[in-house]
């Protein structure tokens, strides 16, 4: 956000960030509307689709995101106590987790493509109606979420740089506060994606 305005009004900047998060929530909300409707219509196909997804990958990624979410929160805490070193390494860890998440995601998608499971693939065209929809939604939702992971990662990397050159410190933590808020949102979205897509029976 705007750094001069923030300087004057950290509360305002935070409110702005929350409002932005609300709109992000509704962006994904549209996909959840579709998910709810199609789950209701094709419960069996969705369950079958869910079984094709790897619980192991999903769980590892969940743990990664939860942990990274904690580490940003800790980083903010560290910054507030002016423990810059700690803050930097916690942020570094967060970035690492984000990277691992994306690598995992890449492997997962790759595996799906290998199994001929992508929109319009031959396997899905033969599958009963609904399976295709499941995978369509799966790719779109995780893709959009992945995009948010990338954006959040870039944002945090930039913040890390700012911390390193002391542009952000215990006295003016707003940028980190807001960056962390964004990262937590990315986490929250995943908290819902995980059981809805990976754990369907």
């Amino acid at each position: 956000m705007n750094s001069t305005a923030q300087h004057h009004d950290a509360e305002g900047a935070k409110l702005g960030m929350w409002l932005f998060l609300f709109s992000e929530l509704l962006l994904f909300g549209g996909l959840f509307v579709l998910f709810a409707v199609y789950l209701q219509r094709y419960p069996l196909q969705f369950a079958a689709g869910g079984r094709e997804l790897s619980v192991a990958f999903g769980t590892v990624n969940t743990v990664l995101l939860l942990t990274s979410s904690m580490t940003v929160a800790l980083a903010l805490e560290a910054l507030r106590r002016n423990r810059r070193r700690l803050c930097e390494s916690l942020l570094g860890f967060t970035l690492l987790a984000a990277l691992l998440f994306l690598v995992n995601k890449g492997f997962e998608w790759h595996a799906k493509f290998q199994h001929d499971l992508y929109p319009g693939s031959a396997t899905l065209q033969q599958a009963p109606p609904g399976r295709d929809v499941f995978f369509g939604l799966y790719y779109l939702t995780t893709g959009l979420h992945g995009l948010h992971v990338i954006i959040g990662g870039v944002l945090l990397a930039w913040i890390l740089a700012l911390v390193r050159c002391d542009r952000i410190n215990g006295a003016s933590p707003t940028v980190l506060e807001n960056g962390a808020l964004y990262w937590h949102l990315v986490d929250i979205i995943w908290i819902f994606i995980f059981p809805l897509y990976y754990l369907l029976l």
Binding site: M1, N2, T4, A5, D9, E11, G12, A13, L15, G16, L19, F20, F22, S23, E24, L25, L26, L27, F28, G29, G30, L31, V33, L34, V37, Y38, R41, Y42, Q45, P119, G120, Q125, P128, P129, G130, R131, D132, V133, G136, L137, Y139, L140, L144
Partner: protein, 543 residues
């Protein structure tokens, strides 16, 4: 008319004055001053409005007689699509909030700027980029998009025209709209001057506040819907493809979840403008301040629940029709409350019929006609007959043009002296207004009638029985065009040669009238302390 002050060479140009530090164009397009950004919006929105009305004129020209008149069916389909996209996304949604809201909101609440000035600039840039992309979809590739502004699937997934570009453009415009919304909410929460309590907020600010919430919460749904169209066209996802298990109606749900609330994004700020103008020219405090505030919030909230009324004949379930029809009627109530309060404000006043007031009063009548025709659409039985006919086209032009655009013109005349420090010619303004309302009603009332007789919309050609009313409508569009042109010319002349004017020509009581016209760059040398309500006109005049 109040105090027209001749200040001769001492006339100050306020925020319009160049600081001379940068080339003058850069001073504007990279300015973070909310007033300059607002003016940028005003200029760009007016430009796109001119493009939109020209397209409207061409539509009417084609429809002057059955059969091919000036263009073929492919061009006609592109015409109404672009007319709709330009009018909705480039003119009427950003219209009042981004132009007048930007300029007046900080002034009215006693702030030096909005909460995030640079974000504000970013919104404008996104708007311009989106607009240029939308217009460039006209050229190149598969030809201009031909889907209608609703982009209904499956057709928009199949057509070979530049739909993807147009859809992406609208996505960017939506992003711009969200940013404006969150900026305004934060500004209103954080930057009110001391003493500016929630019950002392001008009603225009209240209406912007309610609008901003709709922008923040509904626009993302449009965003994802547009992403879904792109996914359908580019990746072939098939989420709405019946053959692959998708449900075409779900597209319509998602689209209208945004686009119905969007009509209240269009009209709420307009209602705010009306609530500003009427008390000032009736010389009476607004009647039922709290009821008007409550109805703004009521419209914003209830407006999010009625999207299904666009789908009564789409094959949606009867239960849903029952629910959405009921909710649609409920949402008419707060509008009625507003109308009654405005009329009541006139009672016992000392009414001046200056140009802004003329527009405000016309708004009352035209919006009522539009709104009442909305009731016909909200009732399930009658909507079946008139859905997707020119009756609907008549309805929404009455509320959008007769309502919002007339309020936009009202705002333009009301705040013109404040923004530019000059006064337009009153007599010519009244003439332009008179010509416009004649043309307007000729044009759109004919449309309501021809729709009732069954003429479908988006028809390039029609049967002979509709010829007469269509001809009338086309004549009306010429009269309307004449009036609009007259108004534009009058204002353009005033921009150069209008009389200089003091801080408060209309003797209004809101804060923007306490600073110079045009306002100085920092708005308030000392932040004001507010001691009275926005419509306590006796206290007005004191600087």
């Amino acid at each position: 008319m109040g105090k027209v002050i001749r200040m001769g060479e001492f006339f100050r140009r306020g925020f319009l004055e160049s600081t001379g530090e940068q080339p003058s164009l850069f001073e504007w397009i990279f300015s973070t001053d909310h007033k300059r950004i607002g003016l940028l919006y005003l200029y760009s929105i007016s430009t796109f409005f001119a493009i939109g009305v020209t397209l409207g004129l061409l539509i009417r020209l084609e429809l002057i007689a059955p059969g091919r008149t000036i263009v073929g069916p492919d061009t006609y389909n592109a015409l109404f699509t672009l007319h709709g996209v330009v009018m909705i996304f480039l003119f009427i949604i950003p219209g009042i909030p981004a132009a007048f809201g930007n300029i007046m909101l900080p002034l009215q609440i006693g702030a030096r700027d909005v909460a995030f000035p640079r974000l504000n600039l970013l919104s404008w840039w996104l708007y311009i980029i989106g607009a240029i992309m939308a217009l460039s979809s006209l050229a190149g590739g598969g030809g201009p998009p031909d889907t209608g502004w609703t982009f209904y699937l499956p057709f928009s997934g199949e057509t070979t025209t530049n739909v993807s570009l147009a859809v992406f453009a609208v996505f960017i415009l939506g992003f711009s709209s969200i940013l404006t919304g969150l900026n305004f909410i934060t500004t209103i929460h954080r930057l009110r001057a001391p003493g500016m309590t929630w019950t002392r907020l001008p009603l225009f600010v209240w209406s912007l506040y309610a609008t901003a919430w709709v922008q923040v919460l509904a626009t993302p749904i449009l965003g994802i819907t547009l992403v879904l169209i792109l996914a359908e066209r580019i990746l072939g996802l098939g989420l709405f493809d019946a053959a692959r298990g998708g449900d075409p109606l779900m597209y319509q749900h998602l689209f209208w979840i945004y686009s119905h609330p969007a009509v209240y994004i269009m009209v709420l700020p307009a209602m705010g403008v009306i609530s500003e103008i009427i008390p000032v020219f009736a010389r009476r405090p607004i009647f039922g301040y709290k009821a008007i505030v409550a109805s703004s919030i009521g419209i914003a909230a209830a407006g999010s629940l009625v999207w299904g009324h666009h789908m009564f004949v789409s094959g949606m379930s009867d239960t849903a029709i029952l629910v959405f029809s009921l909710l649609t009627f409920i949402v008419a109530i707060p509008s009625a409350v507003k109308v009654f309060n405005w009329v009541a404000t006139l009672y016992g006043g000392s009414i001046r019929l200056d140009a802004p007031m003329l527009y405000a009063l016309t708004f009352l009548v035209l919006f009522s006609i539009g709104g009442l025709s909305g009731l016909v659409l909200g009732s399930a039985a009658t909507d079946v007959h008139v859905h997707d006919t020119h009756f609907v086209v008549g309805h929404f032009h009455y509320v959008m043009f007769g309502g919002t655009a007339f309020a936009f013109f009202g705002a333009l005349h009301y705040w013109f002296p404040k923004i530019f420090g000059r006064m337009f010619n009153e007599k010519r303004a009244a003439w332009a207004w008179g010509i416009m309302i004649c043309g307007f009603n000729l044009l759109y009332f004919s449309m309501l009638l021809v729709g009732l007789r069954g003429m479908p919309r988006r028809y390039y050609d029609y049967l002979p029985q509709f010829a007469q009313l269509n001809r009338l409508a086309t004549y009306g569009s010429w009269v309307l065009a004449l009036g609009l042109l007259f108004m534009a010319v009058n204002l353009l002349i005033a921009l150069r040669r209008g009389k200089h004017i003091g801080a408060n020509p209309w003797e209004a009581a809101t804060l923007e009238w306490t600073v110079d016209s045009p306002p100085p760059p920092e708005n308030f040398a000392v932040l004001p302390t507010v001691t009275h309500g926005p419509y306590d006109l006796e206290q007005a005049g004191e600087p």
